[in-house]
């Protein structure tokens, strides 16, 4: 009954060539993701990128127009939401208003015809897990946002799903609570060992919690990688731009030298950079984008710049942020100033930065990213 394609057989949750169209509008286009058992996997992207639609297809609330989803080797194409081995934590939490906390959590267990004692034991266990013991009798309308969030989590986990789906579950919480819930959620995932698929538009949240992240943009999955790889080696302009901040430079490929690529970049002149892992797009004369993150740019003593890895500019705007300084440095031959984030330690070693002061910017060639134009 279960079809499986050999290429991605190892995936516990497999999304294969999944496309979803709503009346001519493509919400998700040819998504291919394979998620391992026990992985904390995030779908990250701006609102309207299709990440929630993809999650709803995994849950069974929507069905793919093309392609298929497999859970633990089983094709889910003809399986309705109530028969899937997944549970979901909704963005609005969807706590049943007519039931108390105990009955909310026990909702999925009732169907299993367990003894009353077994249901009570599991609910108590779940309440302890979310650090809300003894809250069972509380009415749904007497709960705070944080409590609702935890109860939604307990209500899903108490069914011991193969996959837990979370639709921006921390979005409605205030910043402090959100940060502590991030840690707690990650700890919980490690201890229960259930595969989590977490949808968020908050890149910091995704980076700090996930084993791997799929970045989505306008319905397409652009890159699937670990948080570190996404930040250090984005594969396109959209991913680089969405995660962290970054300076982009229009550039032309001049040639290759050893393992390096030589570029001519507007405002920087001739630049040397490492050859990216996937470099099919690099050929002499090709238009590409050179990119570097603000914190990877160093402020050097005058004249210490290495050729191909430095530029001279004039400090424009300057913001003091305590642990770091944010500078805007104007380069000749480029309209937009370059953003530089100078850390405290670096600042102590060099002189004060003043607007109008001339500085030399330097960087490691590994920090200069080359992206398709």
């Amino acid at each position: 009954m279960s079809k499986s394609s050999p290429a991605t057989q190892d995936g516990y949750l497999r999304i294969e060539h999944v496309t979803k169209r709503f009346m001519g509008v493509t919400a998700v286009e040819n998504a291919n993701i394979s998620i391992a058992r026990g992985e904390f996997f995030s779908l990250l992207g701006p609102s309207g990128c299709g990440k929630t639609t993809l999650l709803r297809m995994i849950a069974g609330f929507e069905f793919p127009t093309e392609g298929a989803i497999y859970m633990d080797g089983q094709d889910m194409s003809a399986v309705p939401a109530n028969k899937r081995p997944s549970n979901m934590v909704f963005q609005s939490y969807a706590i049943f208003p007519h039931l108390n906390v105990h009955d909310n959590i026990a909702y999925g267990l009732r169907r299993l015809r367990l003894s009353r004692r077994e249901v009570n034991r599991r609910v108590e266990e779940a309440l302890a897990m979310i650090h809300l013991p003894g809250l069972g009798k509380r009415r749904a309308d007497q709960l705070s946002g944080g409590q609702r969030q935890r109860i939604a989590l307990a209500r899903a986990l108490v069914n011991r799903p193969k996959v837990l789906l979370l639709d921006e579950p921390l979005g409605a919480l205030d910043k402090k609570l959100r940060e502590s819930m991030q840690l707690e959620l990650r700890e919980l995932q490690r201890s229960v060992g259930i595969t989590f698929v977490f949808v968020t538009h908050d890149q910091e949240e995704a980076l700090s919690m996930s084993d791997r992240i799929a970045v989505m943009f306008k319905g397409k999955v652009l890159q699937v990688a670990s948080p570190r790889a996404l930040y250090e080696a984005p594969n396109c302009r959209e991913v680089a731009d969405f995660i962290g901040s970054i300076n982009f430079f229009e550039a032309t490929v001049r040639g290759q030298e050893g393992g390096d690529v030589i570029l001519e970049a507007a405002g920087l002149g001739t630049v040397r950079a490492n050859l990216p892992a996937e470099h099919g797009f690099i050929s002499p004369g090709a238009r590409v984008i050179a990119a570097i993150r603000p914190e990877k740019i160093l402020l050097l003593a005058d004249g210490n710049g290495q050729p191909g890895q430095s530029a001279v500019g004039v400090i424009g705007a300057h913001a003091y942020l305590g642990d770091r300084d944010h500078l805007q440095v104007a380069l000749s031959g480029r309209k937009e100033p370059v953003a530089v984030a100078a850390q405290q330690i670096e600042r102590a070693l060099t002189a004060r930065f003043d607007s109008g002061q001339k500085v030399t910017l330097g960087w490691d060639k590994a920090a200069m990213l080359v992206l398709p134009g």
Binding site: A59, F61, K83, N87, F90, A94, F96, A106, Y107
Partner: protein, 315 residues
């Protein structure tokens, strides 16, 4: 009553030298604004509801003597209805029972028929919900009396159904059980009150957060379980208000049993009407009316409480 309370406290605070005068006081006081808003309605309610009720209560403690009313206070009317072995006693209980069972059936039938319609409009009509609701209320654009007459024509001995079936050769003689019995009252009232069931049920269904149904599906429930565990309990307020809205006035309905009920379909209100008309015994009529009111009230309170308790056991 309410207006005098306002002017009284207004003059008090004016007397203590409130800053900004009456206008500022009015803006500061939540209560004053509330009463001002309700004022006109309260006055009408008092004149048209409280005053007649008090008058009715007074009458029920008086005695009819020929063409005059003896205003000595007495419980005799209530004794006649509840204690003494009188024709009033037997009539009251027979007709009260019949009224309650007829309108109980009417309520049940109407709510059961209205629920699917309300459900359909709330959950499956996407675009023209408002149009649907307007269309559902079209029967109410005709007067109540005309609708009852219409049913009389449809159900009558030579009515639409009988002549239709006869001309098709399905029956030889007209069916007599269609008109002038409790069934025809149920049919007529169920149709007459349909919109009063559909609208409140629709509103409560419409308010249900659709995510809750997705959550129930996600937790393993198929469509039926989802309905009984989420949709139905959450539509309770609508079902209860529909039931009360229909049960209370139909128990006291007088036009429909008079026109389509026949002798077997006489209800409590017909007996009361006779006291205020032919029999000319207003005190007895008043006592009958208030007794009916009290018992219907009790039935409603207990039924609603029992229904609520039953539904809250659904988990």
């Amino acid at each position: 009553m309410a207006t005098s309370a306002i002017s009284q406290s207004a003059s008090q605070s004016a007397g203590t030298g409130a800053r900004g005068g009456l206008r500022a006081w009015f803006l500061r006081s939540e209560n004053a604004r509330g009463y001002a808003l309700m004022g006109p309605t309260l006055v009408i309610m008092f004149i048209a509801l409280a005053a007649p009720l008090i008058l009715l209560l007074l009458y029920s403690f008086w005695t009819q003597e020929g063409y005059t009313v003896n205003t000595t206070l007495t419980f005799d009317r209530y004794f006649d209805i509840f204690v003494n072995d009188t024709s009033e006693n037997r009539l009251f209980w027979t007709l009260f029972q019949r009224s309650v069972s007829i309108s109980g059936v009417v309520t049940l039938v109407t709510v059961l028929l209205a629920y699917p319609i309300a459900y359909y409009v709330a959950f499956h009509v996407k675009k023209y919900k408002f149009l649907w609701l307007i269309l559902l209320t079209i029967p109410f654009w005709t007067s109540y009396l005309l609708r009852v007459f219409a049913w009389k024509i449809i159900l009558g001995y030579q009515g639409v159904i009988n002549s239709g079936l006869q001309s098709l050769g399905i029956i030889d003689a007209p069916l007599e059980f269609l008109l002038y019995n409790p069934t025809s009252i149920v049919i007529t009232l169920a149709h007459a009150w349909a919109a009063f069931a559909i609208l409140p049920i629709y509103v409560s269904l419409e308010k249900i957060d659709r995510t809750l149904l997705e959550a129930a599906a996600d937790l393993g429930d198929g469509p039926w379980r989802r309905f009984w565990r989420i949709t139905f309990p959450l539509s309770m307020p609508g079902v209860i208000s529909a039931a009360v809205l229909i049960f209370v006035p139909t128990t006291g309905d007088y036009v429909t049993p008079e026109l389509v009920g026949g002798t077997q379909g006489k209800m409590l209100a017909n007996l009361i009407q006779i006291q205020f008309g032919k029999s000319n015994d207003w005190p007895l009529g008043a006592a009958l009316a208030l007794s009916g009111l009290a018992f219907v009230g009790l039935i409603v309170v207990f039924t609603v409480a029992a229904f609520r308790a039953a539904v809250s056991r659904v988990r």
